[in-house]
């Protein structure tokens, strides 16, 4: 490859002036766009005072909340006095009515609490010894406050008369002279199957099965199997029954809403397509009707119907039905306008009636596309139904939102999210499989 001569360069330049000398605005366009974006972000930063909000956010809570998704804490209070040291648990503890956990070891007036293999607290009336791995801290309990001996390690804090010892994920303890409040954290979901009020609580799977199959009736009016199911269904902290009913509502909302929308949009799309209905006014009116349904957002429909029918899945069905009649109608009429006209002409040429022309000349061409679009909307509506539920339109959305607003039920949130993700995953796959069979290609 040889270098270009000056004359050749000049020749290129004269032939393609727009490449070599673009107008100024074009040359600096990327720079202008970048500057515009930066300006816009700065404006938004000011408009929403993002800086202040982010700075005043309680980020340390994020870790706690995230931990609550997959774990639970058990509280225990150790009261020290020269006569007797007692350990007490809250009334509605995850450990049931008569807790005797293996991580609390009582030996006379000495109480030892284990936070895993190398972490522990040894408590008696005079002092507390906290051990974490190779380090240990002795805290003397004097009448005017807890007094840690020696230098405080990183995992302990002294605040006035209280010492807080942190054992990481395993838990923490607040120590003051009269008592030690222990919070012990475990991975998993507490009492997921049976709550503490149930007679099956705390039994192993084998024991429960044998009670169901061969045990004596616990409640005379119902069999043990029915009782077990009842206990699971009405589990007080997980509310399986309620959650599953609400989840089913969400599924039903998406299913019926999309189905009704498809049924109504199908004939209307024929009216809206200008190659099928030659009447200009009928086309325009139907198309504008679709636009109206689509542009009045799903939220607005949801709020209106919640007001009209009361909270529940009917409102959700109606909202999805109205919005998607508009969207599907638009998509369908556009598909109809792009069909191959030869088949219609063929059917028409043998003297078929107008209805039969559509039935045999148009429908076979568009049906797979229509069905695949409807499936696609069904899939997408399963997601939307969760969100509009939160404004009262039925389904799991509201329950999810309320569980989050309490700030303490993050494990319930995790449970519902897992269920929603499973449902979405299953429906995605069903819809994908059906669609690829309909259109004959992989999505």
């Amino acid at each position: 490859m040889t270098a270009l001569s000056a004359a050749a360069i000049a020749d290129y330049e004269s032939r393609h002036p727009e490449v070599f000398n673009p107008p100024v605005w074009k040359r600096f366009l990327p720079l202008f766009i970048a500057a515009g974006i930066v300006l816009y972000v700065v404006y938004c930063w000011w408009f929403f005072s993002i800086g202040t909000v982010l700075a005043s956010g309680q980020w340390q809570r994020a870790e706690i909340y995230a931990r609550d998704w997959v774990s639970y804490a058990v509280r225990a209070t150790v009261k020290m006095s020269p006569e007797a040291t007692t350990v007490s648990y809250p009334r509605f503890s995850e450990l049931g009515n008569n807790p005797n956990p293996d991580w609390v070891i009582k030996n006379g007036n000495d109480v030892s609490i284990r936070f895993g293999s190398s972490k522990s607290l040894d408590i008696n009336a005079q002092r507390v010894i906290a051990t974490r791995g190779s380090e240990s801290l002795t805290i003397l309990l004097e009448p005017n406050g807890a007094k840690p001996q020696g230098t405080l390690p990183k995992w302990a804090q002294l605040k006035e008369d209280q010492v807080t010892v942190n054992f990481g994920f395993a838990g923490q303890a607040d120590i003051i002279p009269e008592r030690v409040v222990v919070s012990r954290r475990f991975l998993g979901w507490a009492n997921f199957v049976f709550d503490t009020a149930s007679p099956f609580w705390g039994k192993s799977f084998g024991e429960v099965m044998s009670m169901i199959t061969s045990g004596e009736r616990i409640k005379p009016e119902m069999s043990n199997a029915a009782l077990a199911f009842d206990n699971i269904w009405y589990n007080s902290s997980w509310q399986h029954g309620d959650v599953w009913t609400k989840l089913l509502q969400t599924i039903v909302m998406a299913f019926i809403g999309t189905l009704l929308a498809t049924i109504i949009a199908f004939p209307l799309a024929f009216v809206a397509a200008r190659n099928i209905m030659p009447n200009f006014f009928a086309n325009q009116i139907t198309k504008r009707f679709f636009d109206f349904l689509r542009s009045v957002d799903m939220l607005i429909w949801a709020l209106f119907f919640t007001r009209a029918f009361g909270p529940g899945p009917l409102a959700g069905i109606a909202a999805i039905f109205f919005t998607d009649t508009g969207t599907l109608g638009k998509v369908y009429s556009e598909t109809l306008e792009n069909i191959d006209d030869k088949q219609r002409e063929g059917v028409k040429s043998v003297g078929a009636s107008p209805v039969n022309v559509q039935r045999y000349g148009v429908v076979p061409q568009v049906l797979p596309v229509f069905a695949s679009q409807a499936l696609y909307f069904w899939e997408s509506n399963t997601r939307s139904a969760t969100i509009i539920g939160a404004v009262g339109a039925g389904g799991i959305g509201l329950k999810l939102w309320e569980a989050m607003r309490t700030n303490t039920n993050w494990h319930n949130v995790a449970y519902m999210v897992v269920l929603i993700l499973i449902v979405i995953f299953i429906f995605d796959n069903i819809s994908n499989a059906l669609r690829s069979r309909l259109t004959g290609k992989q999505h």
């Binding site: 994020a62 039903v252 939220l299 638009k330 998509v331 939160a390 999810l400 989050m404 700030n407």
Partner: protein, 322 residues
């Protein structure tokens, strides 16, 4: 021909016809089964929906039109007064007619009507989160494309990350950040932006995988490194498609941020929920009008821009995704 098929069938022909009839019967049976199954599912679903609803469908239907009648304001001008925060002649000290209360004064006597301000807030949530989603989706998508990254592990990790971001319900992200930052526009923004990263990232890497690799080959032959190859070989050809998808996403995000606003994210969604709940006719109609006009304007603008960017191709798709 027709005689040949009806009268003189060879033994093979009879066999074929028998098979065909068998197949046709089975097919019809399946169709009936599917039809009946669907009908049962629909009937069951409708019964269940009606049963678990607070008000029953047929009980509520007469009231439905009553409710629609409740939406009619006292006179037509009320809607405009509510929209532009002008004082109402019906003002009686209640929230229903306190239109001027919501004025946002910019300077002197010049004010921004409340609902326009709230609408701007919602639009800004949508635009900013689309922007954030675009930037992160853009940065991630090249790492997920088969033709640019040969390492399956990196590709897998990036793709799974995007899938998780996309599948997680927006409302959960909003709720989680609301617990940390307190209710407001910023949790909504986080939610919409995080979802957008996943959704755009997926569309983007599919575009990248379909890109023409000849410019890339040329750059590689000239000794360009990975970043130069992506920057000069891939980005220029995929950018129009990226922009088109981002605009499509903006349309969706305007709706999404209205909905999240209604559950506590602020903006126009919240105003609408409150106003419908309290039965303020004029305010409700004003907000619906404003939302309708805004959504149509955004859709039209985006459609126009997409048509300029990628031509007809931008409309091959239904226009809805999530």
């Amino acid at each position: 021909m027709s005689q040949a098929t009806t009268t003189t069938l060879s033994p093979d022909g009879i066999e074929i016809e028998r098979h065909w009839l068998e197949l046709a019967t089975r097919r019809r049976a399946y169709s009936w089964l599917i039809g009946i199954g669907l009908l049962v599912a629909v009937a069951g679903s409708l019964w269940f929906a009606n049963d678990s609803n607070a008000g029953k469908f047929f009980d509520r239907l007469p009231h439905f039109f009553e409710f629609a009648g409740d939406l009619v304001p006292r006179d037509g001008w009320e809607v405009w007064r509510a929209l532009f925060d002008l004082p109402s002649p019906y003002y009686d000290g209640s929230l229903k007619y306190d239109y001027p209360e919501g004025r946002v004064y910019l300077f002197g006597g010049f004010y921004f009507p409340e609902y326009f301000y709230k609408m701007l807030q919602t639009l800004n949530i949508a635009i900013l989160s689309t922007l954030v989603g675009f930037i992160f989706g853009f940065l991630l998508c090249f790492l997920a494309a088969k033709n640019l990254v040969k390492n399956r592990l990196i590709r897998g990790v990036v793709r799974r990350t995007m899938e998780i971001l996309r599948a997680f319900p927006e409302i959960v992200i909003a709720g989680f950040f609301a617990a940390i930052l307190s209710l407001g526009a910023i949790p909504a923004m986080f939610a919409v932006a995080i979802h957008t990263i996943g959704a755009l990232g997926k569309l983007f890497f599919e575009v990248v995988e379909n890109a023409d690799m000849k410019p890339d080959e040329g750059l590689r032959a000239a000794g360009a490194n990975w970043f130069e190859r992506v920057g000069f070989g891939i980005v220029p050809q995929v950018m129009p498609n990226f922009m088109s998808y981002a605009l499509l996403r903006l349309e969706i995000n305007v709706r999404a941020s209205t909905i999240i606003g209604a559950v506590g994210g602020g903006g126009i969604g919240e105003e609408l929920r409150l106003s419908i709940g309290r039965g303020h006719q004029a305010k409700t109609l004003a907000i619906v009008l404003l939302l309708l006009v805004t959504i149509i304007a955004v859709d039209q603008f985006s459609a126009w821009l997409r048509r300029r960017l990628v031509g007809k191709q931008a409309f091959a798709f239904g226009g809805k995704q999530s």
